[in-house]
């Protein structure tokens, strides 16, 4: 397994507000890493820093031995290889479902229309959205939008996919259909970094779990280490509700 992404001493402050302090971790190819923690613990900000949607205040993001944060690699070229799925979907409202999955390929990867369409259809079928290629995002339900967003990210052939609370804006019925797609991807060996509040999902699919509190990594380890034998008191406290429910 090779190292795909390495976060070195990453910190982020907004004015005087410290959001992330000295974050360090590594993602290897094929890993499914989940980041868990209470709201406001900096999980999403971390993910946005990794994708450079926010500029890290200090520290670095290393992608295959190349520093990304300070000009070692062009932002756009890096982002094209690092897919991102947002909580609020962020599908292009002026494009149809199919076109959402094609524009990136054509504009950024310079693929021709035929190849882009073939690729887009492949992934739209995978997420079960192929019948809806002519629909506009505003005509779809939340779960459908999120599945299209996943297909859009996959169409770019990313080396790693970042998920920023992909099911938090969905009602319970729709959460399932999105998690199902993510599980399939994980089982196929896609490298994924997932911020989520779905604990049982995190427990089941993670090869590595990172627990964050107050902008710091409090504990990390395998799924069993975190969910069954947590050592840190804060991890224990955060997971207590979940552990009670599942041990019953």
């Amino acid at each position: 397994m090779s190292e795909i992404l390495k976060i070195n001493h990453l910190s982020k402050t907004f004015g005087k507000n410290v959001v992330l302090t000295d974050i360090d971790f590594i993602v290897n190819t094929g890993d499914v890493t989940t980041i868990i923690g209470a709201s406001g613990s900096g999980k999403s900000t971390l993910l946005r820093c990794i994708n450079l949607l926010e500029t890290p205040t200090t520290g670095s993001v290393v992608f295959h031995d190349t520093m990304v944060a300070d000009g070692g690699m062009k932002e756009e070229a890096y982002r094209a290889k690092v897919g991102m799925v947002f909580q609020s979907f962020n599908l292009f409202n002026n494009h149809s479902v199919l076109s959402n999955c094609m524009v990136g390929q054509m504009k950024v990867l310079k693929r021709n229309k035929k190849d882009a369409k073939q690729q887009a259809m492949k992934y739209l079928e995978k997420v079960g959205m192929a019948p809806y290629i002519n629909a506009k995002p505003s005509q779809l339900s939340g779960g459908m939008k999120q599945r299209v967003a996943i297909a859009r990210a996959l169409s770019m052939d990313p080396e790693i996919l970042l998920f920023d609370e992909p099911t938090s804006a969905l009602d319970p019925e729709m959460v399932g259909e999105v998690l199902e797609v993510m599980k399939t991807l994980a089982s196929e060996g896609m490298t994924m970094l997932v911020v989520t509040h779905e604990m049982s999902f995190a427990r089941d699919i993670s090869s590595h779990v990172v627990f964050m509190a107050d902008g710091k990594i409090e504990e990390e380890g395998s799924s069993d280490q975190i969910f069954i034998h947590p050592k840190n008191a804060r991890t224990l406290e955060f997971l207590s509700r979940f552990r009670e429910d599942t041990l019953k």
């Binding site: 290889k81 947002f86 292009f92 524009v103 259809m121 019948p131 506009k136 005509q139």
Partner: protein
């Protein structure tokens, strides 16, 4: 029967009968200037608005940051000056200034189009800026996240949505331009208002000529506002979509939600 013996309606009829040619010509000039200048103004407005919304990249150097600041300053001066002074004076200033200072006689058409376009552009710049800012930031992030640069993001995602948002304002500008071309009579442009002045001056029938011209102006603006509405509806596309069912495999996998109620679009 002389004009003096006619009733109000008869005088209007007389004006339409005798001057229909010049009225139509005047209306044509008015419409041509208004449409051309609204389009040119939109192009200027989009250009300026796009530059005004560029955020410097964190990776860009000092020099390009200063250059960006300087260009933005120049554009602000342009916007503030042309929004902040009467178009009638701008027309006089530019038209007579060009001939007096540079010895250039611009000619009626060039001057009219130049003045109204840059004026509309100044207003449109702010409208476009507003339109760009009101497109959800998530759209930009979605585009950035798949590796698009600023220019690609603007062209494929933000501007089409901003354009739809500001369509009512573009309609507004078109209508304002139809009416405001009347100030061009100060540099001798023979448009609808100029025609009105000629008719009323020749016949001394201000009230009747004004009524006829008002009606013509209203027909022009009302038609345009209807056309703009139709354009907006066309941009929104169909309210429903067709399920693509040619691929049987794909259809099965989407079956569970295939009967999701079709939503009416705004």
């Amino acid at each position: 029967m002389t004009i003096a013996d006619m009733s109000f309606i008869q005088r209007m009829g007389y004006i339409v009968q005798v001057y229909s040619g010049s009225l139509i010509k005047g209306a044509g000039v008015t419409m041509a200037i208004a449409i051309i200048c609204t389009i040119l103004g939109c192009i200027i407005g989009f250009g300026v608005g796009i530059v005004q919304t560029i955020e410097p990249k964190h990776s860009s150097n000092i020099f390009s940051r200063i250059l960006l600041k300087f260009v933005k300053l120049l554009l602000s001066i342009y916007v503030e000056f042309f929004r902040g002074t009467p178009m009638m004076l701008q027309a006089a200033f530019i038209f007579y200034g060009a001939s007096q200072l540079f010895g250039v006689n611009m000619g009626m058409w060039k001057a009219a189009i130049l003045i109204v376009s840059i004026n509309t552009g100044a207003y449109m710049a702010e409208t476009v800026r507003g339109g760009i800012l009101s497109v959800d930031i998530g759209q930009t992030e979605g585009a950035k996240a798949i590796g698009m640069n600023h220019f690609q993001t603007m062209i494929t995602v933000i501007l089409p949505q901003a354009l739809r948002l500001i369509m009512p304002q573009i309609g507004n500008n078109l209508i304002i331009n139809i009416k405001d071309t009347c100030v061009l009579s100060i540099i001798g442009t023979v448009e609808l208002f100029f025609t009105f002045k000629s008719i009323s001056g020749a016949l001394y029938t201000y009230f009747e000529a004004a009524t006829v011209t008002l009606i013509i102006y209203f027909i022009l603006t009302f038609t345009c506002s209807r056309i703009m509405r139709a354009l907006e509806r066309k941009m929104d596309g169909p309210a429903n979509f067709d399920l693509a069912t040619t691929d049987t495999l794909a259809y099965t996998s989407g079956m569970n939600s295939a009967h999701y109620p079709k939503r009416e679009r705004l």
